[in-house]
Amino acid sequence: MDGGGPERYTPPGPAVFRVYRLDVARSRRGTAPGPDDLRSGGPSDTVRHHRPGPRRETPLNEPAPLAVELRGITKRFPGVVANSGIELRVRRGEVHAIVGENGAGKSTLMKTLYGMHRPDEGEILLDGAPASFRSPADAIAAGIGMVHQHFMLADNFTVLENVVLGSEPTKGIRLDRATARTRIRDISDRYALGLDPDQLVEDLGVGDRQRVEIAKVLYRGATTLILDEPTAVLVPQEVDELFGNLAELKREGLTVIFISHKLDEVRKVADAITVIRRGTTVGTADPRTTTARQLAEMMVGAELPTPQTRASTVRDTPVLELQGVTVAAPDARTVVDDVSLTVREGEVVGIAGVEGNGQAELVDAVMGLRSLTAGTVRLGADDITAWSTRRRREGGLGFIPEDRHRQGMLLEAPLWENRILGHQTRPPAVKGSFIDRRGARADTQRIMREYDVRAPGPDTLAMALSGGNQQKLIVGREMTARPRLLIAAHPTRGVDVGAQSVIWELLKDARAEGMGIVLVSADLDELIGLSDTLHVMLRGRLVATLDPARLTPEELGGHMTGGNTVGAA
């Protein structure tokens, strides 16, 4: 199977590089950053968030030594070339974004730079001098710090304890809290992180936790920070704050390497962009002259569809009716408050909202994972309020969960068992009360083929797949059961552009065939592009019903924050 595909992508010749680099140089010299770069780019460039930090401080004309330079980095794993001929040039004091699809080799590259493994070929230069890392400790000593996507913090420790953990200042054998506190306050003030050293981490929000992670790295004296998908876990407001922090870091002369596949954000925050595709660098781009679409096309090497749906396919028959649905949290706080909505056949009902405003609880309530304190849920003609989750699924509810690792997959099980998950009572994977292993394997293979899930075979463990491929498997599995109603919670979160467009197409197809879809998302373009009706959820209530055909992301953002004002941020 491996041999049959098209030949490997050939690394781009210098021509590609030169083209993009010229592009960078020209635009840098020509335009002064100002209000007019808000206008640059295509239709997706309607910028809602303010731009953090001025860009003009980057010294452009003088040949400053590169903070990080990678030359021809190649990393092979048995039978695989994860990185080949990677070229990366990061100037001191810039925010340099590395974009690429999931599985393109970004993580491998960053692991190389952070000393987690050694490259087979190529060299790493820091400030012009060759460097070689045996372990992350070497990288840290050389001033490279990494902020991981998944936070590595001890919840029941204070900020101070978390920051110093592993490099504690001591007085005798005791932790020297006074020194640590002074240093952390110092770092916090200098980079405007706003941290209180004595707060417990469990009391902090996601944004604050991320700042603790950043403080941890700074505390160890990092001058180059690698941020691995830092915005994946943040809500829009927190993203703005993070970008503000990055501007502070830059102002202090630190270098930031920012890994992402959210192109709008990358274009907002980065000074330079390097695009990686299939293990190699395909070029660099200037964030101010390149549109998100152009970047995305560089990433996947093809033109992209938009989430825009075409003609309305909404029919009359309702498939899901919520009447006064109210859900209480374990602490008796009302998290979903009197929500009523109807989803008809062939209709996509979008639910917008800043995360944590009750969307997750609403989804749980519809799936039967959380009990209602009031209200009814009807699926077609049936009142399913009292049905178990399994009965609801059998009755025609499909579910693409928000957190696929928590609710959608068994990571340590093979793909064919994951095919069965959620469909334990239905063929083709199950015969009576027995598992049909052969049927499940065959159907998994079909899903892999039809939904473009890239994996060696149905016996591969789910954890071996990239996020996008896991998600495509989940989507394929749910679509296969032909549900009447599909609940898609953040269906394209954390997946790359290629998988995103595939998933959008699948949702559109399903809608055209008469499936009702509840779409919960934080991606405003996705919501506006796919929904037929759009509800805004704020503090557990549906506060507005909007027509996505006449709605801009700015307006939607205003409704989501409750301000109704354009550009509230």
Partner: protein, 386 residues
């Protein structure tokens, strides 16, 4: 191929652990001033005459049967992420009540045996159900409640033995329940042993071996081939994903504990039905705890547990001959203990290797030529639609 590598790893980890444990044990024996090689010789020496040799093998298997059942009981719960530490109490209570019922009635052979088995399984299941109900309704950790219930079960068993169910005469040094009449005995398998051309051993090979094999097969099929088993394993792998897939987590806790307890109820029956025919103060204790070790060593699969039980049986047999050579029998316990510790470590290492391989697999899936063209599929979809 990956399957081969995965099974290879599954076998390799415990084997390595056993070798490490034996090395540590050899060190311990050397430290107490005995020759480790003597110990090895004694363990491998099954006697000179064919009869002695078969006898040794029968002892090993007879010891392995209850250990296997105990491991099986633990593993069923463990596959769902439940620690049934209460197997000890479950089988002790089940055995004394089954012995009492068996002694109190007289039925035709097979029915009598079936009744005893049924009572034992029911008592074990009910005792385990207490744990499940506490967990489901009150959120009590099954570890705590099952440990506590062990004390209650042992105390209750002692009370029943010395009080209402006492069958041995007043003043006897060993207190027992009344003997089960012969119709409630499980026939031995010595006919099969001699039929295989082996010498007649001194003691009977437990016929209950067959029940254990059936239980193992049933559990294996249940876990890997049925919907119920899938739900159970899914809950063990990720309770949140299982719930979202429609598994009723509370129901699963109860059902799993019932099954685990029912199997635990069988543990005492090989001895009860095969040799002793009564429950008493000298009835084999500690099998429930050994079962945890056996399940760990066997990585919670029936075949693995069978091998682990045989290994433990083999080591236990050596306890008496070792003493003849002046080596304390505790050496066996030390070996078993170090094996379990080493296995826990080895399993963790194996897990990490699997994970690393999976990561490489992901790099392969991401970068392999089959990825061809990330956007092409989309284009094709677009093209097909247009």
């Amino acid at each position: 191929m990956t399957l081969l590598r995965r099974t290879g790893l599954a076998v390799f980890a415990p084997l390595l652990a056993i070798v490490v444990a034996l090395a540590i044990s050899a060190l311990v024996i050397a430290v107490i001033g005995e020759n480790p090689l003597t110990a090895v010789r004694v363990m491998l020496d099954f006697g000179e005459t064919p009869s002695q040799q078969t006898q040794a093998m029968v002892v090993v298997v007879n010891r392995a049967v209850p250990l296997f059942l105990a491991g099986l009981a633990v593993s069923v719960a463990f596959r769902m992420g439940l620690f049934n530490i209460g197997v000890e109490g479950q089988y002790r209570l089940a055995t004394i009540l089954a012995a009492a019922v068996g002694a109190a009635v007289a039925l035709p052979g097979p029915l009598h045996v079936l009744l005893i088995i049924g009572v034992a399984m029911a008592v074990g299941a009910l005792w385990a159900a207490v744990v499940a109900v506490l967990k489901v309704t009150r959120g009590v950790s099954e570890v705590i409640s099952s440990i506590m219930l062990n004390f209650i079960a042992l105390g209750t068993a002692s009370f029943l033995l010395t009080g209402p169910l006492r069958g041995s005469p007043e003043g006897a040094s060993v207190i027992t329940t009344s003997d089960i009449p012969e119709s409630g005995w499980f026939p031995g398998l010595n006919g099969v042993v001699t039929g295989l051309g082996l010498a007649e051993p001194r003691s009977d090979l437990h016929g209950f071996l067959l029940v254990a094999v059936v239980a193992g097969v049933v559990v294996a099929v249940l876990l890997t081939r049925t919907r119920f088993g899938f739900d159970l394993r899914a809950t063990g792998l990720s309770p949140s994903a299982a719930t979202a897939s429609g598994v009723d987590a509370r129901g699963m806790v109860i059902k799993t504990m019932l099954i685990s307890g029912a199997i635990a109820g069988l543990i005492g029956l090989p001895d009860l039905l095969g040799t002793s025919h009564h429950y008493g103060t000298e009835f084999t204790a500690g099998l429930g705890f050994l079962g945890i070790a056996v399940a760990l060593l066997g990585r919670n699969t029936p075949v693995g547990i069978a091998l682990a039980a045989l290994l433990f049986g083999f080591l236990d047999r050596a306890a008496i001959p070792l003493q003849f050579e002046g080596i304390p029998a505790s050496v066996v316990t030390i070996i078993q203990g170090t094996i379990v510790l080493a296995v826990v470590v080895a399993n963790q290492v194996a897990r990490q290797i699997t994970r690393r391989q999976a990561e490489r697999g992901s790099a392969r899936a991401g970068a392999s030529p089959t990825t061809g063209d990330g956007g092409r599929t989309t284009d094709e979809r677009e093209g097909a639609r247009a």
